[in-house]
């Protein structure tokens, strides 16, 4: 174990997999210089052949990744969530649908790394938290690491996976630190939630950047004698329903914290599952702590009102306690 930043952990995961498998390559805008950080050092180690600077053509290179994968390569594509809109046709019509539409003939081991900046005054065009959109489409695996160790372990699993994966790399977490296993065999499986803190009174499911906020809220509530269980699903597709349902079976109370906009968020889906499958376990109405249903305003006085906070999570926990 070594202490690492989330961003370094992502890079470690990529580098280790590139050392193992010559079919893995990385492409994106300015990746050689690693302007977003996680690809730092990769160009020095792997050279021009495997680290490709692309033109600003998201539809073009998102689709080229699909084609390269269809004939046996394992591309990693770096982009920002907000630039994915420009390449949507290739993500949806090709990456997501190709395998099903062709009756299983296409195997597409592509990883789209979507750096997800928000909360830093970037305004509406650079602050998207778009994973629920892709959950709705189907055919894409959706990964939202919440800790540095998961950032590395899930990245490695994503690269080894034979389906198209979108890694949502939460910008508010990139600078967080944590213990990260050095072992190159360390991976984190998809579809297995992480119980970050055990508790008996209330279940808080926290997604991506909400993870540290939920842990802080749980710490506060402990001072008041309330035992909060904090679960990070880690992957939204596939979703580990069992762990969430078991926890709700134990606590009878659910809060879901999700940085995505409230309507049709990941939280909406999780709450719908619990409503359908565990309604009689609930002792109080479920609470959703998601972003306000607005575009991200530039001014800090407004932006700070939008996202889930520890205080917001605490308030919702208290609501479930009546």
């Amino acid at each position: 174990m070594t202490e690492k930043m989330f961003m370094q952990a992502l890079g470690m995961g990529i580098a280790e997999e590139m050392r193992i498998d010559p079919k893995v390559f990385l492409m994106g805008e300015d990746v050689r210089a690693s302007v977003y950080g996680a690809a730092s050092g990769l160009h020095d180690e792997f050279g021009d052949e495997r680290i490709l600077n692309t033109p600003l053509s998201e539809n073009g290179f998102f689709g080229a990744a699909v084609g390269a994968a269809a004939v046996g390569m394992r591309p990693i594509v770096e982009t920002l969530t907000s630039f994915m809109w420009v390449g949507m046709d290739q993500l949806v019509s090709q990456a997501a649908k190709m395998r099903y539409m062709f009756g299983g003939q296409a195997t597409l081991p592509v990883v789209y790394r979507a750096v997800m900046y928000y909360g830093g005054g970037s305004a509406a065009h650079h602050s998207d938290r778009s994973y629920p959109v892709f959950m709705n489409i189907g055919g894409l695996k959706i990964v939202t690491p919440g800790t540095p160790a998961d950032a590395k372990g899930l990245m490695k699993t994503a690269i080894r996976d034979n389906d198209p994966v979108i890694m949502f790399e939460d910008g508010t977490l990139l600078g967080t630190r944590g213990e990260v296993p050095d072992d190159p065999d360390f991976t984190v499986p998809f579809g297995v939630a992480n119980i970050l803190r055990e508790g008996t009174d209330v279940t808080v499911v926290a997604i991506a950047g909400s993870v540290p906020r939920a842990l802080a809220a749980a710490e506060e509530m402990a001072k008041e004698g309330v035992s909060v269980e904090v679960i990070d699903p880690r992957t939204l597709v596939p979703l580990d329903k069992e762990t969430i349902l078991n926890s709700v079976g134990k606590t009878g109370r659910l809060v879901v914290a999700d940085p995505a906009a409230k309507v049709c968020s990941a939280a909406s889906e999780i709450m719908s599952i619990v409503g359908e499958e565990a309604f009689w376990d609930l002792q109080a109405p479920m609470q959703k702590v998601a972003s306000k249903q607005v575009h991200i305003p530039f001014s800090p006085s407004l932006e700070k009102l939008v996202y889930p906070t520890s205080d917001g999570i605490i308030e919702s926990i208290k609501k479930t306690l009546g």
């Binding site: 079919k23 390559f25 052949e49 495997r50 490709l52 692309t54 033109p55 053509s57 539809n59 073009g60 290179f61 998102f62 689709g63 080229a64 990744a65 699909v66 084609g67 390269a68 994968a69 269809a70 004939v71 046996g72 390569m73 591309p75 046709d89 290739q90 019509s93 090709q94 190709m98 395998r99 099903y100 539409m101 062709f102 009756g103 299983g104 003939q105 296409a106 195997t107 189907g138 055919g139 695996k141 996976d161 034979n162 389906d163 998809f190 579809g191 596939p238 979703l239």
Partner: protein, 330 residues
């Protein structure tokens, strides 16, 4: 056109063109009988895909569009599996999940047709990227229409392929119209092939009714691609003899194109032109050419029978193929 192409290759081209023609005449007949739904017919354009694919190897890749039967049949697709797919049956290429617009056969390099106009252009470009990165010698070719040539995906891909010298052939089938709109009203340059200049690649204008000309232009582009010299844009001037698609009754051909224009193009039927070249050059007799057509016709009849008798996919197929691994979809 005089040529030094081998008899085998000429007869193979004739065979594949007849397969496409009979396949689609059969589809028309079955559409009229209510057996299959509306599809986009390639009739009139057969020389483009067949001429081009004759210059490709089995190990090369192609991708196509919604006018989707000609490209796979030209590349060697199995007629039975293609027909069964159009019938939505389990023995179809995609187990009935793709239908007419999504025929694909990865085993012979058909990376798939596409219902979204121009959407397969980046995909074919990516296959070429894989060839280059791995130092392989396969190339890829993508067929798209005059309408598709205005999509960003095309422009992005041509630029990308050129800056990276990728072994890909952009084959634009200019059949003069996108549904009812003439390319003259939507393309800012005189010829779509002129756009190659903007991407610093050769742009070749070819008579798309002439299979031999198509073969020769493609062979030249393939050689360039295999030598690491990068992509080529080929514009094939052609014409669809039928409506935009079977089933679009609203779109009367005469409302956007004159009957006289259609008649004029029909005089240059690609099958007649190739047959004439073959016979005039003494390569084969008219009787041999007729036999090729009769054979293809019989194959198509057999394919139709096969498709009719193939079962529909059962419910167990519904969630299959969403992911490579077995995992619950929700």
């Amino acid at each position: 056109m005089t040529t030094n192409i081998s008899k085998d290759l000429l007869m193979l081209m004739l065979e594949r063109m007849w397969r496409i023609r009979h396949f689609e005449l059969k589809l028309t007949e079955m559409y009229n009988a209510g057996e299959v739904g509306g599809v986009h017919l390639y009739i009139g354009q057969e020389a483009v895909a067949v001429g081009a694919c004759a210059a490709l190897k089995d190990s090369d890749y192609i991708a196509g569009n919604h006018r989707s039967h000609g490209h796979p049949i030209a590349k060697g697709a199995n007629l039975k599996k293609a027909m069964a797919e159009i019938f939505g049956r389990i023995d179809g290429y995609c187990k009935g999940k793709g239908g007419s617009m999504h025929l694909a056969d990865f085993s012979v390099g058909i990376l798939g047709e596409s219902g979204i106009v121009a959407s397969s252009v980046p995909v074919a470009t990516g296959a070429a990227l894989a060839s280059k990165l791995e130092g392989k010698d396969f190339v890829s070719a993508v067929f798209f229409g005059d309408g598709a040539s205005n999509q960003g995906a095309c422009h992005e891909s041509m630029n990308l392929a050129s800056v990276w010298d990728l072994p890909v052939l952009f084959i634009c089938e200019n059949n003069q119209y996108a549904v009812t709109t003439s390319y003259k009203d939507t393309v800012a340059v005189e010829h779509i092939s002129d756009r190659a200049q903007a991407y610093n690649m050769p742009g070749i204008l070819v008579d798309g009714q002439d299979a031999i000309a198509m073969y020769e232009a493609t062979a030249q582009a393939v050689e360039r691609a295999r030598n690491g010299e990068g992509p080529t844009l080929i514009e094939a001037l052609t014409y669809r003899f039928e409506d935009h698609s079977l089933g679009l009754e609203k779109i009367r051909k005469s409302e956007y194109r004159e009957e006289s224009e259609i008649d004029e193009w029909r005089l240059r039927d690609p099958l007649d032109l190739l047959t004439k070249s073959i016979v005039d050059s003494g390569t084969a007799t008219p009787a041999e050419c007729d036999a090729v057509s009769a054979n293809a016709h019989a194959e198509v009849e057999e394919a139709a029978e096969f498709a009719r008798n193939s079962p529909f996919p059962d419910e167990s197929e519904l969630y299959k193929d969403m992911f490579a691994s077995d995992m619950p979809v929700v």
